[in-house]
Symmetry: C2
Subunit: 204 residues, 2 copies
């Protein structure tokens, strides 16, 4: 009985596994095909889930998309949480925090999110679904960052954070379009130097 | 005869007018509908041009897209050329140059270009067509900017320029997604302050 109990999954476990497979397949499709060519049919095929079954989990394509971004940021946050907690305080933590933000906002997350953001501009239903996820991500990352900002006044920490996020998003777009990696590295290094300087100027 | 000559357009003029109508309609479609829903049929309908006639001008959709970006940047460059030439030299020109870059890279050009860039990531033919146009725009803007950078060493001027371009692209994406305009204004002001400081530090 014990062996049988271990090999059989509960209904809740199966449900969760199907959901995860769908969300992973959604991110894969966005990265491989782009939003325009990502269909629910293709997602189901990659996840090995029937098209009927997906409707038990998500009532609309937009909802599936938003859940996929949330799922991806959740995984990422888990991966980065330890690194963020281990950041040194003060100026020496600033450069390391910028590296972590770049790591977080570039790569798969940035690619999938950019596909969705751009599509959302002309798709009100999708916009409605992903905006709260995007805002929640921004807020929670900001909280993490300000919690390790030490003596820096909150307003200064926020400005430094948002400058870094927007620069990083621009650089992530550049990376996707095959811009020069050497130049990106140079710009990120220069921004770290500047941010440390700004941090030191603003610290009491 | 003279009157007749003036009211009748030459074949070259008609050709040019059709081309311009197609390019303007392409930009309109990208901004209104996004790349995925922009069809050659819709572009022709908006331009008042038959679908057969478009093939006299552009052999492929990707070519039409690249020409549209080139057309838009050409118009923009014309509009900005006088402002750039009139920029004050030295540190006081830095903040004004950043305002001009923001003006250039945000709005219609940024919206249309972002649609194409993102689509190009998963569409090799489109990427092949728009990459040279994007690089040429970057190079020519950079030349304009370094020509007014005064005493600043070329390498420093380039780093300041590319940091500004990438930050601006990130902010333009934020604007398209309905981010807070007050925060964008604050970040741009802070970046101007920082850029002037960096300019002064690097000037001999």
């Amino acid at each position: 009985m014990a062996v049988l109990g271990k090999t059989h999954r509960t209904q809740a476990e199966r449900r969760e596994q199907t959901r995860t497979a769908l969300l992973d397949a959604t991110i894969d499709c966005l990265v491989d095909l782009g939003y325009a060519r990502t269909s629910v049919q293709e997602i189901c095929a990659r996840a090995g889930v029937s098209k009927g079954a997906v409707q038990h989990h998500f009532s609309a394509k937009a909802e599936l998309m938003a859940a996929a971004v949330e799922h991806l940021t959740g995984k990422l946050r888990g991966r980065l949480a330890a690194s963020i907690a281990a950041l040194p305080g003060g100026a020496s933590g600033v450069a390391a925090a910028i590296d972590l933000l770049w790591e977080g906002y570039s790569g798969t997350l940035s690619t999938a999110a950019t596909e969705l953001w751009v599509a959302a501009r002309t798709d009100p239903e999708l916009r409605e679904a992903i905006r709260p996820v995007d805002r929640a991500l921004g807020r929670s990352t900001l909280e993490h960052i300000t919690s390790i900002a030490g003596e820096l006044p909150k307003e200064r920490a926020e400005i430094l954070f948002w400058l870094t996020v927007n620069l990083t998003r621009g650089l992530a777009l550049d990376a996707e379009l095959g811009g020069d990696p050497k130049r990106r590295r140079q710009l990120l290094d220069e921004w770290k130097r500047v941010a440390v300087m700004l941090y030191e100027d603003a610290s009491p």
